[in-house]
Symmetry: C2
Subunit: 395 residues, 2 copies
């Protein structure tokens, strides 16, 4: 049984704050700062260039990848870290597209995170493909024989709706379509089972539920049955079969290593590695159970006390990730008021209040506190004051 | 007059080490560790998601970019940080290629760093272009009207030979060719003048002479006359005109901001920002003068004491960067012996000993020490022992 009191204690959580925005940026694990300092002072400054071998920096992207693999239903040696999620989306979709040279359509949905759509648009324009975007609930019906790639974010960043990875992958394969799964809101949030679903490619970021810090490195997974065949357009020296032979011609490394591109970000990766320590004793079925417990309690609590808020997340726990969102015409103002009261969620235009529940550190007290403060704010009913009508800021 | 004694004191340099490998990985500036710790504890852990605004993380890639801009002859607002050098090469070359739709050839040279060639090969295969690779000394003669892009690393990673950026750019423009300059071995090493040369695109890494730490973020510059027109294939949300509007369609930001892709690596960027403090009082003409002084002294010293080594770097200082390399059939073994004696350079197959001189912290004592130890090692003449015949390791 996972000890979630212990995992909660592993984080620095500022006093007086109820943090429900770990689906945007996870809090700092207490061990992270010390580990990064250790790497900088004990490795970089002392070992200098020899740190690539002596401190193991060179293999860090795969070693850290192995730790992420366990959390997403993948095997060791199947995940590699690096770059940002947008770059990894590009690699996965471009590699999948190359494997379906006679097909030109990439299918995605309007609930996908916009950056994934932008990446696919740029790729499509460059290689003469086409991005087709349908509503989330129409994805399944639109899986047809003309598709090269199905590019889906498993959990919708706005609604928290969770696609059925296994069913969509099965149907995609029936039509000869390769799947790319974006796990930004899944990794560390739900019980992902990539091998069980027989997905083709998966990518994700690590600064949300994995708590790697702002802009920490992304990950990419290729199903082992495709890993030696995948040819991403982005080919850099770290993905070469022999990077230090300095060949003038590119020869891809075997397996997932070919998805490496440039020199890996060691300082950032070290912080992430420390953050992954917190996951060591965590059972993903326990995590999922706790996530459902927290989101259920929040939905019931808010609906009982704040009836003006409209649930924007599937009511069936099986169809959602680890976040809950509500809609309200004055959503931006309400969120500002919540933040002022120490309950931090976030706002997504035009009217969505988002609340992420990270089972690793959020607990029932967080749920009660958020429900209570939200109810108080709603009862004040001052949401037509003009100062609340400003536009969303960066967060 | 730049105070190079002060800049040297700004680094942690391990006792007993003569470090001549800053062209591979710069040493740690003393302030970097503290600044990173401050960011992690004072910003990430306390501000959580609000750090994007309150701590200025969101604009960090451009603010840090401005600091790099001064060192490469570019103006404020023209450089943005992020990703790795290979990714930035891809962006620059792909954007340049889109601007020359009727031309399909990318010209580069065999002295370019292999990763740049790999990136161009991948791009060329995807978009139906062609990478043409000639010898470094044949570049100028091969600038012809069928070229779309000239992709050149200004300073050769192996020989230290420096291309004439101004002359090649002028000739390229006479033939309607756009130029992409890789400044990996130039930024912080020589007096780069991008605006003076009227170059089109430039990219570089920051972990060599800029001392940002292993895998620190890369930079990209677009000449302002092209910046609103450039369309890189890689388009991510941070390069969108309004990232937080979450449009489903990509609309590029104005200017260099469109070269941003995914969420920026704040921890790594903060270390780099601290490393750039050391540059505040540095005049680039002084830097260049000191670089020439050091490399001249090293060449003369080695040639006087180790006649078996063959100079592999142009003798004319105007034609070289801030490194010197020599060839020797037992180069790998000699470098291992040097490292064992505390003189750290590196080896590049098949027979090249490289020595980087970073004017910010290397001094005449480093030169004397390296010359002396190298001379002693060479006089031992034991270079046919089989244990020296192993292949190069990762460094």
């Amino acid at each position: 049984m996972t000890d979630f009191n212990a995992t909660r204690r592993a984080f620095h959580l500022p006093a007086g704050i109820t943090y429900l925005d770990g689906n945007s940026l996870g809090p700092m694990p207490i061990g992270a700062e010390q580990r990064v300092a250790q790497m900088m002072v004990g490795e970089w400054s002392e070992m200098l260039i020899t740190g690539w071998n002596r401190a193991g920096w060179y293999h860090q992207p795969r070693k850290v990848g192995d730790r992420v693999a366990r959390l997403i239903g993948a095997g060791p040696g199947q995940v590699v870290m690096g770059d940002t999620l947008s770059i990894k989306v590009f690699q996965a979709v471009s590699a999948a597209r190359v494997m379906r040279p006679d097909r030109r359509v990439i299918l995605s949905d309007s609930g996908n995170f916009p950056s994934d759509l932008y990446v696919a648009q740029g790729l499509a324009r460059a290689v003469g493909a086409e991005l087709r975007v349908v509503a989330p609930e129409e994805v399944e019906a639109n899986i047809t024989d003309d598709l090269a790639v199905l590019m889906i974010t498993e959990v919708d960043y706005r609604t928290g709706r969770r696609h059925d990875m296994k069913a969509l992958t099965r149907k995609a394969h029936e039509h000869g379509v390769l799947t790319v799964w974006d796990l930004a809101h899944s990794a560390g949030a739900v019980d992902v089972d990539l091998l069980g679903a027989d997905a083709d490619f998966a990518v994700g970021c690590t600064y949300k539920y994995l708590n790697g810090g702002p802009g920490s490195p992304a990950f990419i997974w290729t199903n082992p049955r495709l890993a030696d065949e995948a040819e991403p357009i982005l080919q850099g020296w770290m993905g070469h079969a022999a990077p230090f032979a300095f060949d003038l011609e590119y020869h891809p490394a075997k397996g997932i290593e070919r998805m490496r591109v440039g020199t890996p970000p060691v300082i950032a990766m070290t912080g992430l590695d420390a953050a992954l320590d917190v996951w060591d004793g965590v059972d993903m079925a326990d995590l999922r159970a706790r996530s459902i417990e927290l989101t259920e309690a929040f939905i019931h609590g808010v609906e009982a006390t704040s009836p003006d808020l409209i649930l924007n997340t599937p009511r069936d726990p099986a169809q959602r990730g680890s976040q809950v969102s509500f809609r309200h015409p004055q959503g931006y103002a309400i969120m500002q008021a919540l933040i002022a009261e120490g309950v931090i969620g976030d706002f997504r235009a035009p009217d969505v209040l988002r609340f992420g529940f990270a089972p690793l550190y959020n607990d029932r007290d967080d749920v009660s506190q958020a429900v209570e403060v939200l109810g108080e704010i709603l009862r004040k009913s001052s949401w037509d004051r003009p100062e609340f009508h400003q536009k969303s800021a960066v967060t």
